[in-house]
Symmetry: C2
Subunit: 465 residues, 2 copies
């Protein structure tokens, strides 16, 4: 029901008690009421030993089904707590794609030891999937699909599906292959339901299908599912067009979530955590966050160097220093905006490097517009305080002018740097998300100081210095 | 095939020429080779008049199919360029959920005028869907589903599906309702294929189903699809449990993309653009980006006020001012990191307000750790330059100490502000993404100046002042 999540949670205390006291009858009753997903949700909230305990008591296939719905951190943690035979039972029963997802996150010696517990057929399959490059479509794939021949009829195909479909992950699409196993077409299951039994498969085929290459990056799979939105699974082939497996849309939904999280963490200037926030260890968190902060800190130290060039001017007119944070962070903010918008537009394919002039022109114009608004506010601020409180000595008008012009320039400069950097990185084959907001802001801070002082020297020379 | 996207693009010049010269034979040949999605992709790249021209020449159902795969900006633009009769034909043939998506983005007088072109049945349906609150599950729903009765057999159900299934968006799940239309269960189509024809539906039912409430926020639908990953559609019910429609997973994939884009744009300190980067008008872009920049600018002006409190100290020791940008932006960076991580963890449900103490403790510790590393680097920088270039006068050791301690404090402070603000906003029922990196950075800039000068006064008093 609508409030399923809430309802499931309401059963949590009852569930914990049943697990802890080993009350199998109460557990049985609870399992009657809950879907496998609900149970997995509850099991996921138990502590490690409780999870292992529960998974040891239910039948092996059910244990595997629940286990593979836990998040990867929980899977790894639980694996170590299970008896060897139960552990072996679970990993043998897991869906091939979920098994790859687990195996690829383990240290390589653990992967090898786990592989040795697999039955020969499962081991060969798991090894084959792991042989595909990291972040490739092959790693997302399950070889559990149904393939038919175009010489068959709809009726024969339905018999075949009935006989072989039981353990397949999805039957929403059926694949037509030739004698060599080359993919010829994919047919949504509805076509079988809507066609008479004596119709030839060749007549049901429309010859339009989209396959993913097993070695292609996973990003391509996400794009394909977005485009072919009527499909809930897509076939995966090798270079020769041989059908190797399928990728299902639920994996895409999870993959998209994972990739977005990584992108967002990069935006924020941290290396991707790879585990959930509360589960990352202190040292791993410290390491992943410090790396970029240290790099940024070295960049920021240039602000001190830049300012020391103008130490004499500051000592003659301390008021100049008062507006440094205001000016440089306005540029940092506009630059962060521009970088964020362009990085996201690149990720969505809305913008490409060929649009570089269009983007530059637009960011320059928008930057000048925004700079003008902020510059006028800055000018007014200086002039108002200058007249009302005599804060800035006699030359407050010139100071205001310097601040205003500097704000316009630095804001427009921020837009240009923020928008161009991701495009250039993308062009060089690097990840545009690396040019995250903090990087752009740091760069603008250093250059902004130079811009500000040069404008100030120009506008105010002879007055304050 | 794997390189479908590329292949489609290769046909683009041919396609444009055929459209422009009105070469129907060439178009016919191209359409033979391409899926509807490929054609939609090519049509989407034509200019407005070309799109309208193409959509006027193909049969109405095909035009509707292609039209509803264009992005919303292109749909709105094309609508105005079509003849009234073609426009009416298209919107009558659109899938109900895609139609709602279009109607809800139009200004209300346009929505009304479009509704008047719908046939009575379609109009009533469209109006009913629009009556659900904005961003509710009801707005994502299509009423095109197949419902059967539990008294039926598998065979009778299959006949019913065969007879009524033709125009349904998906047949992957079939719904069992009672006499009043109340949802009793959902059955994946595979169960029909794997069951003998004389089996009673009541025996196929497992009584486990998950339904969404039509008035629930769309976010709940995203979560439900992630949890029930074997489902490609979920039923939608009203408060009484009456089955109203279904939501399909492809809409969820697009919704997730849209919501993530909005979140990322908020992270970057801009209001969500709502259109693709290159399609937003100059004025709309300027408005959406200026609002927050102006708010931030007013916040940043407090840095000038804060600094003017310490104007006398600066004039006595200008070197103090040199390190202001370095110190405050280190805090800004650590604060942005913390805010980004916590906002994303909140969005993924990894963290809730109840974890506030756990988060605070962790951010304080990580902050002190990171601050210590940066603080030592800062201290070394001052001492090295002080001995090597005599940059900072005689008291460079004390200055280095002040800078080091300030960096530790401000970095830890940044972590605390950045992590707590999103949690507090969430608690108050506000959108945590509003506390985006630039907001946290601005707050840290102002408070960081105060922290730095107080530490400097404490450490250096009697030496420089």
């Amino acid at each position: 029901m609508a409030l399923r999540k809430l309802e499931t949670q309401l059963l949590y205390p009852e569930f914990v008690q049943a697990v802890e006291t080993g009350d199998t009858e109460a557990l049985e009753a609870l399992r009657e009421h809950l879907t496998m997903e609900d149970i997995a949700e509850l099991v996921g909230e138990l502590e490690g030993p409780g999870r292992a305990d529960f998974l040891s008591k239910v039948p092996a296939t059910e244990a595997a089904e629940i286990f593979q719905q836990l998040d990867l951190t929980a899977q790894r943690e639980t694996l170590d707590l299970l008896s060897t035979s139960r552990m072996a039972g679970i990993i043998n029963e897991m869906d091939p794609d979920d098994r790859t997802a687990l195996l690829e996150t383990l240290p390589s010696h653990n992967t090898k030891s786990l592989l040795s517990f697999l039955r020969p057929r499962e081991r060969a399959q798991a090894q084959k999937l792991l042989d595909f490059p990291e972040d490739s479509v092959g790693r997302l794939m399950t070889p559990d699909f149904l393939a038919i021949r175009k010489e068959w009829t709809v009726g024969r195909s339905l018999d075949f599906i009935r006989f072989n479909g039981e353990d397949k992950e999805t039957l929403n699409d059926i694949y037509v292959v030739d004698r060599q196993g080359k993919l010829l077409d994919d047919i949504p299951i509805r076509e079988f339901l809507l066609s008479p039994g004596d119709r030839a498969i060749a007549d049901v085929m429309d010859g339009h299908y989209t396959a993913l290459l097993a070695t292609a990056p996973q990003e391509e799979a996400i794009q394909a599912f977005k485009k072919y939105s009527a499909r809930t699974a897509l076939p995966v082939v090798d270079e020769e067009g041989l059908l190797l497996g399928i990728v299902t849309i639920d994996d895409i939904l999870h993959l998209e979530e994972k990739e977005t999280t990584e992108d967002i963490q990069k935006f924020g200037g941290a290396a991707p955590l790879e585990e959930s926030y509360l589960e990352v260890s202190f040292w791993s968190m410290l390491r992943k966050r410090s790396v970029w902060l240290i790099v940024l800190f070295f960049g920021q130290m240039l602000t001190a160097s830049a300012m020391s060039f103008y130490q004499m001017e500051i000592s003659k007119a301390v008021v100049l220093a008062l507006f440094i944070p205001l000016i440089i962070s306005s540029g940092g903010n506009s630059g962060s905006q521009a970088a964020t918008l362009v990085i996201r537009a690149l990720a969505l394919g809305e913008v490409a490097f060929t649009d570089v002039w269009k983007v530059l022109r637009r960011e320059l114009l928008v930057g000048l517009g925004m700079g003008l608004i902020l510059g006028v506010i800055g000018l007014l601020r200086v002039v108002l305080w200058g007249t009302a409180f005599q804060s800035y000595g006699d030359h407050y008008l010139t100071l205001g002018l310097a601040v205003g012009v500097a704000v316009i320039s630095v804001v427009a400069w921020g837009n240009i740097v923020g928008s161009m950097l991701p495009l250039v990185l993308k062009r060089l084959g690097l990840d545009p998300a690396t040019s995250s907001a903090p990087f752009v802001a740091t760069f603008i801070d250093v250059t902004g100081i130079v811009i500000y002082f040069n404008i100030a020297l120009l506008v105010m020379s002879g007055r304050l210095f």
